[in-house]
């Protein structure tokens, strides 16, 4: 037996920043910024997270701060005292429960992104996104660019505007330009109709409508949040939403937002904990003030978003005038030569084009984005830098009948020089034809291929995208996919395994969960594809031993049995409106318990509704339960579930001796 008392190590920090379960990247910009700020103020800071330091939970102290339990790679246990605790939490990804939400037809967006990037999953036509946030729109646009037809984004919450996180209009324009559809409705049910075919029932003011889809991707956030919560108030126990990815290019507005929020939180913690001199006090006040101003600026477009009016396919005269007067749009040089046009009309937390410009022609330091036309050399570096494709090169001589525009190349196939393409407006509607004039390469630091298109002069300020003209585009898509399938070596890089007793070829060295997705046998439990295995929902039998599919790599001759996990409740089923799938608790039951007790506080609701006490410790149901409590009138906006431990914490004899 291991003597646990000998390996529990004690430690103490002023501030501890730690990773909640299922955090994808560690440490992100917010963690680094917060740690730097606090250490500069003389506070000791500990960071706990990543693959080698698993955080088991926080036990709040009766005063402020709390005790943090951490297990390291050698399975030694550390009990750390912190005067302030900051938990970095991933953004919520699961929708409010509806019939079928825990079926394999619905996958969270993080899983979908992993499948798109890492797996050879073939996306079938018809993908619905639940949520219309930037992340959803961006991924939907990627799918459309890859030629997946019928991609739609569904608003599942009544606050349509709440999704305009930053640069939302830019993303929406791009999505619609590529042919995506926006639908305002609530999900009602997801019913299997065949292999890779689901009937998605949506409910709107006209009743139930049906959408045939191959998969539904759940992409929160479903409620707008401030990003930082403190609960209980005054306890110095914070929850910090992780909006940044590992690279700024992947989610630039999330990156900036997280950084500014970290400054804000850092200032608040320093104010509380630091033994202040006048100088350090002034410095932290300055930091706080700056962060507040920047955050306010990033949220300004909430109040005044750029929503252009259209008359048919054309921008209204007033909005066209606004577009042409925008300081990022060229006015003088554009008549003589190619010059960049920065058509990102909202004040968002992004400066990627400014950073990419080798001539410093783009300036964000003043109010709005400013383009110095004289300095612009039309090198095109700003075009691939913009993840939303809001920049282009333009040459519009006043007397000529033609205008030259340069877009980033987005399609899978390059149109031939001289080929006619359909020109699209900012909403993706066809305006007319243009001719491909050639190609050019964007300059460093972010090279990329650009396409030059000659367009009629009257479309110079309207055409902002193109599409190849095809007689039978869907057939060509099928031909293309088939040819790719055939050209792929059927066994190349794959290994032979026994899957449910049958011989199958899977990729080597990928997680079993990913491999199951590739074979089309994913289960609802695989959906989290979590980096740390903390939910424990995706257990499979590998060579007769129970293992987590997300944590086990494929290898040759392994035997996998992926039976659905046993339920402790008889009513467990994928088609139920389950709030907590682990315990078989429905939303209706949870509401009934809250109402019958006339409960007012989240703590009381938690005692009455055992949500989060199942295997996943609230990773699936936690956010849904919070939303449900808010709907029931409980003040849970700032509530943080500090129950200990956050994940099932396994002990084996002798492991730490």
């Amino acid at each position: 037996m291991s003597a646990i008392g000998t390996f529990v190590r004690r430690g103490s920090f002023d501030v501890v920043v730690l990773a909640a379960p299922a955090v994808r990247h560690w440490p992100t910009v917010g963690v680094k910024r917060l740690s730097l700020l606090c250490s500069d103020a003389g506070l000791s800071v500990g960071q706990f997270g990543g693959p080698y330091l698993g955080v088991k939970g926080v036990v709040p102290s009766p005063r402020t701060g709390g005790w943090v339990w951490v297990e390291d790679a050698q399975r030694r246990v550390h009990r750390i005292h912190a005067r302030a605790v900051v938990r970095m939490s991933p953004l919520p990804e699961f929708p409010d429960p509806f019939a079928g939400w825990r079926s394999e037809g619905l996958i969270p967006i993080t899983t979908a992104e992993a499948l798109l990037e890492k797996a050879q999953t073939r996306w079938a036509p018809g993908v619905a996104f639940l949520g219309t946030g930037n992340r959803a729109l961006r991924m939907a646009s990627r799918l459309l660019e890859q030629g997946i037809p019928e991609v739609s984004c569904i608003e599942s919450h009544h606050q349509w505007g709440a999704k305009r996180f930053a640069g939302w209009e830019v993303e929406r324009r791009r999505f619609q330009m590529l042919g995506g559809k926006m639908i305002e409705a609530y999900p009602h049910a997801l019913v299997r109709r065949g292999p890779l075919l689901w009937e998605f029932q949506l409910k709107d003011q006209h009743g139930i409508r049906l959408l045939e889809v191959s998969s539904v991707i759940s992409a929160g956030p479903f409620l707008p949040t401030e990003g930082i919560r403190e609960y209980p108030p005054g306890s110095l126990l914070f929850d910090f939403e992780q909006t940044a990815d590992d690279l700024p290019e992947k989610n630039i507005e999330g990156w900036f937002l997280e950084e500014e929020r970290a400054r804000l939180l850092g200032g608040k913690i320093i104010r509380q904990l630091s033994v202040e001199t006048t100088e350090s006090r002034e410095s932290s006040e300055r930091t706080l003030k700056k962060a507040r101003i920047r955050l306010k600026r990033y949220h300004r477009h909430f109040e005044n978003p750029f929503l252009p009016e259209y008359q048919g396919k054309w921008l209204s005269r007033a909005d066209l005038k606004r577009v042409r007067e925008f300081p990022g749009v060229p006015k003088t040089e554009v008549v003589n030569r190619l010059v960049a046009s920065i058509e990102c009309f909202e004040e968002i937390a992004c400066n990627l084009c400014e950073t990419a410009c080798p001539e410093s022609a783009i300036d964000f330091s003043r109010e709005g984005k400013f383009l110095n036309e004289a300095a612009c050399t039309a090198c095109g570096a700003c075009l691939p830098a913009c993840p939303s494709r809001a920049t282009l090169l333009l040459q519009a001589p006043p007397e000529a009948g033609k205008t030259l525009v340069v877009f980033p190349l987005a399609a899978r196939e390059e149109p031939r020089v001289g080929e006619l393409v359909t020109l699209l407006n900012r909403r993706g509607e066809g305006l007319g034809s243009g001719r491909v004039a050639g190609y050019q390469e964007a300059a460093e630091p972010k090279p990329g291929r650009l396409i030059r298109i000659e367009i009629p002069a009257h479309l110079a300020w309207e055409a902002r995208g193109y599409r190849r003209i095809r007689a039978d585009s869907e057939a060509q898509d099928e031909v293309l996919l088939l040819s790719r399938e055939l050209s792929r070596d059927p066994h190349g890089g794959k290994i032979e395994v026994q899957l449910e007793g049958e011989k199958r070829f899977l990729r080597e060295g990928v997680s079993v969960a990913l491999a199951l997705y590739e074979t089309g046998r994913a289960r609802a439990g695989d959906a989290l594809l979590c980096p740390d295995g903390s939910c424990g929902l995706c257990a499979v039998m590998v060579d007769g031993t129970k293992k987590l599919a997300c944590q086990t790599k494929t290898h040759a001759r392994m035997a996998i049995r992926a039976r659905p996990p046993k339920s402790s409740r008889p009513d467990h089923g994928v088609d139920n409106d389950l709030l907590c799938p682990c315990l078989g608790l429905t939303s209706e039951e949870a509401r009934r318990r809250i109402r019958s007790g006339n409960l007012l506080s989240p703590e009381a609701a938690l005692r009455s509704v055992p949500c989060g006490e199942g295997r996943c410790h609230g990773q699936v149901c936690g956010e849904g339960f919070r939303r449900l409590m808010i709907e029931e009138g409980i003040e849970a906006q700032d509530w943080i579930d500090w129950r200990f431990p956050w994940t099932e914490w396994k002990f084996r004899p002798g492991e730490a001796e």
Binding site: M1, S2, A3, I4, G5, V8, V59, S61, P62, R63, W67, W69, V77, R79, H81, K566, S567, S568, P570, R593, S596, G597, N598, L599, L600, S601, E603, A604, R607, S608, E613, R643, F644, P645, E648, W649, K650, F651, R652, P653
Partner: protein, 404 residues
């Protein structure tokens, strides 16, 4: 709206609710004041009586039939009973009712830990009380302990005393049922949560509720059910009425761990090992014959009693030190791996609560109470509003009986 009442009940848990239930049946009007936003946030009621060491008095009060005498009258509906034998008998059982269980309780000791005199005396008195105690040694002592591994074990230096049919209950269901009934019976205007700035006045109470200052005239009595949440307020009241005989109450931290194991658990018994109460956790009627076995083990572990004279700063530090400490994990490891011989286990959850250690002050098995004011509407401070469900109900019942 008039809040005038015969009796005002102040508390945060089940005790004031049970008292309200009893008093309304007697035809008195009551007003409940709860300084917390909801009832049961303190989680003051334990599902069983964690009594130890072995003594006859506690044994007698924990026999199932005796506990039902306390639990049944205070519940406004039907209580179901459960025992491992009853569960096999077909018949209707309300699956949503609170269940009171008769399970055997098994105390384990080292071979020399208890003198034969103590054991013998206890054995005789338990037999006299109608129970059939069993003494086990070695491996037989472990056989019915909940969670004991089924694999062969070495003969240990162990002895055990097993007593059949002691009670434990679905405390969550019980107290929710009482609250729901009273809300319907009295109406929301008579059960006020989130009350602040409470004070006693010569003719009743004054308090702040829903952004307004309010007062209530009281005809008979004000009962204060003293729990740690009300400690500061109760002390202030005893100082106000110049009562010097109200003692400093000691308290104790309780950790309620939920563990998971591969081993199916024995449902019919509750084990006691090195001060920890150990039982298979399930609600209601328990798993049926076609359902998977229970794998959740609840472990109730008490911390050291904290000195009554502790200042609040010391108390915080002690709580800080004790809460989910390395001692707790060491005890769990010792229990699961050293004693139950589990190959591995997982911690599913941990709840903590702070309860008063009022048992040393109890007289005749009843919690002490102090009358702070005898003239006008009396003000009574009642201990025993936290602890085991049966104790809480007994305290509430006794307090109601003292009202003239």
């Amino acid at each position: 709206m008039s809040y005038d009442s015969d009796v005002v009940l102040i508390g945060t848990g089940l005790a004031p609710l049970a008292a309200a239930h009893r008093l309304t049946r007697e035809g008195r009007s009551v007003l409940l004041l709860n300084p917390e936003r909801d009832f049961f946030l303190e989680d003051s009621e334990l599902p069983l009586d964690p009594w130890q060491p072995l003594n006859e008095e506690d044994f007698r009060s924990n026999v199932l039939e005796r506990a039902l005498e306390v639990l049944r009258p205070e519940y406004p509906g039907a209580l179901e009973t459960w025992s491992a034998e009853d569960a096999q008998v077909p018949g209707f059982r309300d699956p949503l009712a609170p269940y009171v269980r008769g399970r055997s309780r098994i105390w384990t000791f080292g071979m020399k830990a208890l003198s034969s005199d103590v054991l013998e005396r206890f054995y005789v008195s338990a037999s006299d009380a109608g129970a059939r105690p069993q003494l086990h040694e070695g491996i037989a002592a472990l056989r019915r302990f909940p969670g004991a591994a089924t694999r062969p074990m070495e003969e240990g230096e162990l002895q055990a005393v097993a007593l059949p049919r002691l009670w434990d209950a679905d405390v969550e269901r019980y107290r929710s049922g009482v609250l729901e009934f009273l809300r319907e019976r009295l109406g929301a205007e008579r059960i006020l949560s989130g009350v602040s700035q409470m004070d006693t006045t010569p003719d009743g109470v004054r308090f702040y509720f829903d952004k307004q200052s309010r007062s209530a005239k009281v005809a008979a009595s004000i009962l204060v059910f003293w729990t740690p949440r009300l400690d500061a307020w109760a002390r202030a009241q005893s100082r106000k009425f110049e009562r010097t005989d109200v003692p400093e109450m000691g308290y104790r931290l309780w950790e309620d761990w939920t563990l998971m194991s591969r081993e199916p658990l024995e449902l019919g018994s509750i084990g006691v090992h090195q001060g920890m109460m150990v039982w298979a956790d399930f609600e209601g009627p328990g798993p049926g014959p076609d359902q998977p076995p229970v794998h959740r083990l609840r472990v109730l572990r008490s911390g050291e009693p904290l000195q009554a004279s502790s200042t609040s700063k010391d108390a915080f530090e002690t709580l800080d030190r004790d809460l989910a400490s390395s001692d707790s994990l060491r005890s769990l490891m010792q229990l699961c791996q050293g004693f139950l011989r589990w190959e591995k286990f997982a911690i599913r959850g941990m709840r903590s609560r702070v309860l008063f250690d009022w048992k040393p002050l109890a007289k005749g098995g009843l919690a002490p109470a102090w009358t702070l004011r005898k003239s006008g509407p009396t003000v009574e401070l009642i201990a025993g509003a936290d602890g085991s469900l049966a104790d809480v109900l007994a305290s509430a019942r006794a307090a109601c009986g003292r009202i003239e």
